[in-house]
Amino acid sequence: MQYHLQEEILMPVSFDKVFGVHDDALLLFERRNQLLSENIANADTPGYKARDINFDQVLQNAQNSNSQSVSGAQLKTTHQGHINVQQQPYTGDIQYRQVEQSSADGNTVDTQKEKAAFAENAVRYQTTLSFLTRKISGLKTAFRGE
């Protein structure tokens, strides 16, 4: 009886549930930030092909899969001998960008587009950050019990 009571009191707060999709989203935006910065840095490199993450597809994968992680299409480990390959999130969702105007040197970077995507991604990142900050301050308020 006492044990039962203790279990109820010590019921842990699941950070996965509190943060929901946002901590995964932060990882995604971080990865995309890196890809877009590579595109911008290689804007003058002959033969470089611009890459990006298809955000809609990642979202769809996340909705389709029942796992808590956003990073949808990934291998699951159903046996303890299986190797966990979740080290690199969103690797499968990286695609080469479609070119609207090809250049003679084979480079497919459209600097204006990349800059716009970079700015958008930065705003998304900050939005997710502020969501997380709110969640944390909500938790803090609950912990203080004031």
Binding site: S37, I40, D44, T45, Q87, Q88, K115, Q126, L129, T133
Partner: protein
């Protein structure tokens, strides 16, 4: 953590563009350099960029940084000028000047400077995001 890789990427882009600016400066400065010998005339230099996959930390993908593969020297024929009184003139009275397209060099300079600015912007935005992430949960 891939946020730190961005500094490598943008930094490599900046140093590549800075080298391009240096070659432009060298080409423009030597555009009027006179030589008495056709073979000694200055030739315009241009860097050749390439994208190199650099191994990142164990937990993230490789990053595509910019590297300067080589600095290519153009093979243009020098422009002869008939100036018999010039101290550098050869026996036939000719001096030679390099065939440098200054307008193209200026356009190259502007392109390099814009690309440099883009990289700076990427770096400062990423830095700001990182600092905000560090302040996560504080208020």
């Amino acid at each position: 953590m891939s946020v730190f890789n961005v500094f490598d990427v943008a930094g490599s882009g900046m140093s590549a563009q800075m080298l391009r600016l240096n070659t432009v400066a060298s080409n423009l400065a030597n555009a009027e350099t006179i030589s008495g010998n056709e073979g000694d005339v200055y030739q315009a230099r241009h860097p050749v960029f390439e994208s190199v996959l650099q191994e990142a930390g164990n937990n993230s993908d490789d990053v595509a940084v910019v590297k300067v593969r080589e600095i290519m020297q153009e093979q243009t024929t020098a422009i002869p000028h008939y100036r018999p009184n010039h101290p550098l003139a050869n026996n036939d009275g000719f001096v030679y000047s390099p065939d440098i397209d200054t307008v193209a060099e200026m356009a190259d300079m502007i392109s390099a400077s814009r690309s440099y600015q883009n990289n700076v912007e990427v770096m400062s935005t990423t830095k700001e995001l990182l600092l905000r992430t560090l302040q996560l949960g504080q208020r």
